[in-house]
Amino acid sequence: MIDTLHHVEAPEGVDLALRLAGPAPRAIAYAADVAIRWIVYLFALIPLAGLLQEVGGGLFVLVFALGEVIYPVAFELLGDGQTLGKRMVGIRVVHDDGTRIRWQASLLRNLLVVADALPGTYLFAIASMSVSQRFQRIGDHAAGTVVVYVDAPPQRAAGAAAADAEPAPPAIALALEEQAALLAFGARSQAFSPARREELAKLATPLLRPGAPAAEQLAAVAAHLRGAERAR
């Protein structure tokens, strides 16, 4: 319920889960983008000021007006939904059906930054993201886009240790939820300190033979549930 997962139903009948980025990472990415743009403007201003005053001034107005829109649109299209700031934070823009962003949506959401920035402090953007289930600012609503985390490669190192345990069937029949909990424990147990591991494992009293270390017994059950081969 409070997960920031956005499920997209693919035509194949599968729910694909997107992990939505909230206001904080997006604000950081946006601030980085603004900083990058201003640095570019600053460097543009130096040679432009050297030009004839009127040409340079006029050109600067143009660079500024177009840069505010062209910079994000160009990067979102060429960088697969990531401006430089978003790349730093590890988020990307996609359509709300999970597909790659195209230029129409990118143009719309970046033109509407002006509306999101009202009244001067991005209050509209923050308000819109707060009431939206998908953290969409006004421009996202109009363009039909969401900002999601770029998927990190899944971590699997912890699971390997649990597989070493000698598999043993559980003492009682387990419901699906309980099996899932045990699998999760097996996968993550190496991340805990031994004392904490033991403490957590002791909670599963119906499964445990008294006397023996609880964590090892649970690891064995988890290995059984994973379907690990019995060591020969």
Binding site: V8, A10, P11, E12, G13, V14, L16, A17, L52, E54, V55, G57, G58, L59, F60, V61, L62, V63, F64, A65, L66, V69, V94, D97, G98, T99, R100, R102, Q104, A105, L107, L108, L111, L112, V113, V114, A115, I138, H141, A142, A143, G144, D151, P154, Q155, G159, A163, L176, E177, Q179, A180, L183, A184, G186, A187, L225, R226, G227, A228, E229
Partner: protein, 318 residues
Amino acid sequence: MKQEAFERERGPHWQHFERALNELDAQSKVSDFPRRYRLLCQDLVLARDRRFEAALVERLNALALRGHQHLYGARTRGGGFVDLFLREFPRAVRREWRLCLLMCLFFYGSGGGVFALTRQTPDLVYSLVGAGQVAQMEEMYDPSAEHYGKPRAASAGVGMFFFYVGNNVSVAFRTFAGGILFGVGSLLVILFNGLLIGGIAGHIANIGYGETFFPFVIGHGSFELSAIVLAGVAGMRMGLAPIVAGPRSRAVALRESTHRSVPILYGMTGMLVFAAVIEALWSGQPAIPALVRYWVGAGLWAVVVLWLALGGRRRAPR
């Protein structure tokens, strides 16, 4: 099937699928991709349903998502640049003809009304525009001014071109974006600009500078004023959609209407660039006689109206 058996059996397929994704990322073609994608989707559903470890489900989800993006994300559209401007843009404008009429009424109505009022009560201009700006306008269009009668320096023309484009484009984008407030923002900007332009035109005519002002503005005005009105139309379309949603949900109405007004946005931007070209290269040349400017200006207005009214009629909209 338990998790490890599942991974042993299906693992090679996933690795194969990942390689195919990497090849697709590198723009090469992969045969049999849709079938592999569907198989992967089955694996994902299976892994989720059996409550296999989160890391496994996550991995399959990430693979399926990438496959989904490749399979459904690569929609390309036909029609090049010329097609966009000559056909799709006028079609998009005509689809919103009611809003076009409404915004023209607001813009030219308020402008014309204030023009007539300012002609009668000249002081009205000072309640619309600050005294400093009025003085600046007077200086710009003073027939006896120093720069008048001399050709503009080329550099000034270029500088002004960039300035006009930059300034007008940001005004137009703001006019559009203001529409998100249920159309009110666009409406106010259009109304305010109409009042401003009408008031200044009236004042310039009052003090007898019309002979420099009107030949100057008639040329680029055709594209520039129309573009601002169209920015208002696109903004209104977006803002009104959630109010008059029809049979759709309000969120869907907003998204669809906004996407429908995209051609108006790029068409309008193109018009502003063209207007600035005219303004910098043609309107600013005082050597051309006023009569020629009037005729060319009228011709440009006719071009805009005919373009938007007739463009892309022959082939049915896709």
